[in-house]
């Protein structure tokens, strides 16, 4: 069952169409990727979900019920453009945002202490935001986003500005939050993290949905019968009527061969032929990266 659904949402700014009949359905406790080039309409959709702006037409549902203004308490939003009051102290500021989300001061304090310790930023409690590094401020903002334990979390480019260690820390926190029952909508340009984290995606380009579905399905669909075959030592194989050789590399005393089957050959048959040519180290269907798919889909549309 979908925890969140947007049905046929359209939004126009003046003469500019920002969203054209876009629908998404986010399954419960999943991570949903919202992808698209700059200016495609992702931010507009996110703002509509957060009820910062309203759609011109279309409907939104949270847990099967129409989205209401009070539902902001059940949504957490980390915008792409991070913003904190520069002159305000970290702890006070986090408390302020928590109270705006409807938490009582005492409860907010308790949870903040927990999160600040967990992310190792407790020492920064009394510091002003302008004294913090960018990564530190990002952590503070991450905490304010998840503090009220929302059912639906929306992260817009959550990893920018983090070093690899902290990016990994945040990634694990996101996975932890999902385990505890949250659903995450995740907007990013970083396709590696999409492959790693997302269950489903929607790709928006020029206000329209151009690709949607589960990440595995999309990748298999675009895979188009390609395989990577790795042999020990220098092995050469020729293409025949059943397959064509697309690429041949020899690296570190291994031969890496990408081939494409021509149709009615299944992987077992292919492997049987391959064994005759040398020692097989690995045999994998070659899935295209999300990065490739992204570029190909968007360029095809343009």
């Amino acid at each position: 069952m979908s925890i969140f659904e947007a049905k046929n949402v359209s939004k126009q700014y003046g003469t500019q169409l920002a969203l054209d009949n876009v629908s998404i359905a986010v399954p419960h406790q999943s991570i949903y990727g919202l992808l698209g080039p700059n200016g495609a309409g992702k931010t507009t959709l996110i703002r509509i979900i957060n009820q910062i702006t309203g759609p011109d037409s279309g409907e939104l549902f949270l847990e099967g019920k129409k989205l209401r203004p009070e539902d902001v308490q059940r949504i957490g939003y980390l915008p792409e453009e991070r913003g904190l009051y520069k002159k305000m102290k970290v702890g006070e500021q986090a408390l302020y945002f928590a109270q705006l989300k409807g938490l009582s001061k005492a409860e907010a304090m308790k949870r903040l202490k927990y999160w600040f310790k967990k992310l190792e930023i407790i020492d920064w409690w009394g510091k002003k935001v302008e004294e913090l590094s960018k990564g530190m401020a990002q952590k503070v903002q991450f905490v304010t986003t998840v503090l009220h334990e929302p059912k639906l979390l929306i992260f817009d480019e959550p990893f920018t500005g983090f070093d690899p260690v902290n990016a990994n820390l945040i990634k694990n926190e996101i996975l932890f939050l999902r385990e505890r029952g949250a659903t995450i909508i995740f907007s990013t340009h970083n396709m590696e993290s999409v492959e790693e984290l997302c269950d489903n995606i929607t790709l928006i380009n020029k206000a329209k949905t151009i690709l949607e579905g589960s990440v595995d399905e999309i990748r298999s669909k675009w895979a188009a019968n390609e395989y990577d075959l790795v042999f020990d030592g220098n092995v050469k194989i020729e293409g025949n009527g059943h397959y064509n050789i697309l690429d041949h590399k020899f690296e570190n005393n291994k031969s890496i061969i990408r081939l494409k089957t021509t149709g009615a050959v299944n992987s077992n048959e292919l492997l049987q032929t391959a064994i005759k040519s040398g020692t097989v180290i690995s045999f994998n269907p070659a899935l295209p990266s999300m990065n490739e798919i992204f570029i190909r889909v968007v360029e095809a549309r343009n």
Partner: protein, 452 residues
């Protein structure tokens, strides 16, 4: 509603804790007190410049003791002095100047010289002239040998002091003073202008800060834009009121302390000290004769002013001030918030600020003119038009304004401020999420028509 109070609290506390706020709050009363105290101190110092003047008569002694000593000068009548010799040495003997009276003075007005090294002050000359004129008149009158002359003189002695009285709506006569009305008009007009302008532009700066630091997007994912805007406007209004109250209390405090420490010894406080008894007795009929003997002219004037100040329609003034402050501030602050939302930084505000500043400046100018002529058509219309009425009407009220005019002005004000807040909220809602584009008037007009 609960969230608005969280916003109001933040806006209030972060501002009140700022160093600049604390410094301004403490410094301004000292400046105000200085403005009140310094002229008095200067006056005191002037008095310290005491003058000794020798009075010499040529060949007669008609005017011995005629010129009375004043606070500024002592007149010493010298007899049997060689005039020419004394002219050269009076300074060495500690005299400021020599007054030489010739016998022809009775018939020739200028038969009198005051010789001094410096130009004598006009007050001193007037005192000498008045004393001698009176004495000569008296001597001339005496020459007619009228019986009971002293009694007649006493009975014809008169003093004229125009008392301005105002008829109110109910036909009651009220004692007023144009001076007090002018002072009040000035104070309230200027105060309204300052409060609206200073705190209105603080709202604008606050909005720009939130927009440029991108905090706004996080906040309006939790609260409605109008809640954020109103929370900010109300929070800053409370900061303004706090500062204003602190100023009143501190100014009063500092002035009192300075008065008691600096001025007490010099005796300048005698006027104010004798005030209370006089105020208490003001309701009882006091005969002109009696009051004349008791009260010095300055004290009389002071009592009159105080009387007049008490007779001002204070309830109306305070009510109107609060009303016009709230509505006027809300009107302008929401416009300032809309402007702040439409720009990316403070330098871009210029083009939008001008049309907003003009009505405020016009209001202030008309208010200043109002003091000369509170009934002029310009003052009348500007006190009804909502953009200028908070300032101009406040300047007019101390002079007396018919209730129907105040009523219409307030009604227009309420309608307009609701309309402006509504419009500003629409612009604000769109503006705070617009970045990088230079906003034009046309653009803002488009925002007004966007749906939620």
């Amino acid at each position: 509603m609960n969230k608005i109070s969280v916003i109001i609290k933040r806006e209030y506390i972060t501002r009140v804790r700022k160093k600049s706020f604390i410094i301004m709050t403490l410094l301004a009363p000292l400046l105000m007190a200085a403005i009140i105290i310094v002229p008095t101190v200067l006056m005191m110092n002037q008095k310290g410049d005491f003058k000794k003047i020798a009075v010499i008569e040529e060949k007669s002694d008609l005017f011995k003791g005629v010129i009375k000593n004043t606070r500024e000068a002592e007149f010493i009548y010298l007899e049997n002095v060689n005039i020419n010799e004394f002219k050269t040495k009076f300074e060495k003997e500690g005299y400021y100047g020599v007054l030489i009276i010739y016998p022809e003075i009775i018939t020739t007005p200028n038969a009198i010289d005051l010789i001094s090294k410096k130009q004598p002050p006009i007050g001193l000359l007037e005192h000498i002239e008045r004393s001698l004129e009176k004495n000569i008149e008296k001597q001339k009158l005496a020459a007619y040998s009228i019986g009971d002359l002293d009694a007649i003189m006493k009975s014809i002695q008169t003093d004229v002091n125009v008392q301005t009285k105002k008829l109110d709506e109910m036909g009651n006569v009220q004692k007023t003073s144009t001076g007090i009305s002018m002072a009040l008009a000035y104070i309230f007009g200027l105060l309204m202008y300052m409060l609206v302008f200073i705190f209105g532009s603080q709202v604008m700066r606050g909005v720009i800060e939130e927009k440029t630091s991108r905090v706004v997007e996080v906040i309006i994912s939790s609260v409605k834009p109008i809640e954020l805007m109103m929370g900010k406007i109300i929070g800053i209004a409370l900061v303004g009121l706090t500062q204003f109250m602190m100023w009143v209390i501190l100014t009063a405090g500092v002035t009192t302390v300075l008065k008691s420490t600096v001025l007490e010894k010099s005796g300048i406080t005698e006027i104010t000290q004798s005030m209370p008894q006089n105020m208490m007795s003001q309701n009882q009929p006091v005969s002109v004769e009696a009051s004349k003997q008791e009260i010095s002219p300055e004290l009389m004037e002071f009592t009159r002013l105080f009387d007049s100040a008490l007779n001002q329609p204070w309830l109306l003034i305070i009510f109107s001030f609060i009303f016009y402050f709230i509505t006027g501030y809300l009107l302008y602050a929401s416009v300032f918030a809309a402007i702040g939302s439409a720009v990316d930084n403070e330098t871009e505000t210029q083009q939008f600020m001008l049309p907003v500043t003009i009505p405020i400046i016009i209001g202030l100018m008309v208010a200043m003119g109002t003091m000369q002529n509170p009934e002029s058509p310009v003052a009348f219309w500007c006190s009804l038009i909502p953009l200028t009425s908070p300032i101009v009407m406040m300047a007019r009220i101390p002079f007396g304004v018919p209730f129907w005019q105040i009523g219409i002005s307030m009604l227009l004000m309420v309608v307009t401020f609701i309309f402006f807040v509504w419009m500003a909220a629409k612009i604000y809602r769109t503006g705070i999420l617009m970045y990088g584009k230079k906003t034009s008037w046309k653009e803002m007009w488009k925002w007004l028509r966007y749906s939620g």
